[in-house]
Amino acid sequence: MDTTSNPLVEPQIFDSLRLELRRGCLIVAVLAQLRVEHYGYTLRKALADQGLAIEESTLYPLLRRLETQQLLTSQWREEDKRNKRFYKLSPEGETILVQLLAEWNGINDSVNNILQHSDQRLIP
């Protein structure tokens, strides 16, 4: 089906699919980045520096949710005369991250295989 014929609909569909695609990837990225301890703001900066910008209003609640799932540990500590909550990957989080990365690589390989066997003209 040709979706390029409707310029009004296409960006909406793309945004929605992009959001869906990013959602799972962000969790993997956050877990991986938190192998090194960070507090919310520096974590966001670190992710952005790696090319993965993420909104504060998405990241900060996500950190708390991952902590509730015991994938992260956190502690309040003073830094630069301010109390900050530092997060770090927990041992359970490390196990999950390894599993997620295996899944990620599996999906990546599968998609690449599919793309290689399909019409190469589809790849921009």
């Binding site: 900066k45 504060e56 209003s57 609640p61 301010r82 900050k84 909550r85």
Partner: protein
Amino acid sequence: MNPTSDLLARYLQAIGDHLPAASRDDVLAELRANLQAQMDDRAEELNRPLTDAEVAGVLRDHGRPIVVAARYLPQQYLIGPAIFPYYLMTLRKAAPFALILIFLANCANILFVHTMPELIAGILRALGQLIPDLLIFAAWITVAFVIAEYVYTSNNAKPFCASWDPTKLPAIKPQIKGKSRASRIFDLIFHCLWILYVLAIPGHPFLILGPGEIALRAFPVTLAPAWQTFYVLLLVLLAFQLITKIVALNTSYDRGQAVLDLVTKLFGIATTAYLVTMKTYFVATGPSANLTMLANVNHWIGFGFRVVLLITLIDFLVEAWKLVRPSISARSLVF
């Protein structure tokens, strides 16, 4: 308190208003630290303190307080994705039955009216009451499923319909086809014969009354004059049906034909409504007639026509629903 701290404090307070007390202080302290760090970073970049407008800009980018707070709350819905398909299916399956029951209940009063305006007003009232009553029905179904969702999520249980057996799926439905051409021709011939029969009735009353016609002669009663009007209405109805059947002869069954059928049914309802309002079906032709018995006979005949009217109205609504249903998306049936 400097303006920056004041604006930040007000922002955090606004977020706090939407957070549960148990986690409020912790969330706000963390947010404060992160926002403060972001502002410090920005001030360091600019090599000067942030202006009020710049602070407001940082907060604006962070999001509306109510939206920010909502992200810290667990995902909430009245009916979750596991139960929602069953909710939708129940609404769709139960709606036609509810429609009939509600309409029947609302129509009960037309059994006891005596004049055409009262009858029309009764039917209109019943129709007007349909939508509010259907909304109430849908609300009760929704409440039942909200409770089911609550029980499901509270117990972390499988939905009540989770287990299923593929071998119990219904058999493949036969493809609905319109009437064959032969069937439509036969239908037209039968209808023409039916019209001839009806046309012959005035000259040969035994065609409709049978042996009762001889018995009727023995009593000092006869058919009321209002039957003549009914007879004309019946002929108009038959003529209209004749036209639709001729039109249908060369066309397969489609929506247009279905609409014509509905119009015919509506005409039939109007004719039956006329019968209901006649009230007097037999009249005395002599002084020896038992007027009490005659009144009873007229009453019960009238009651019978009221029941027929109700049935034809329900039939009409069901057929109208069948016609309209395919063009209504399942999503639009959800309230």
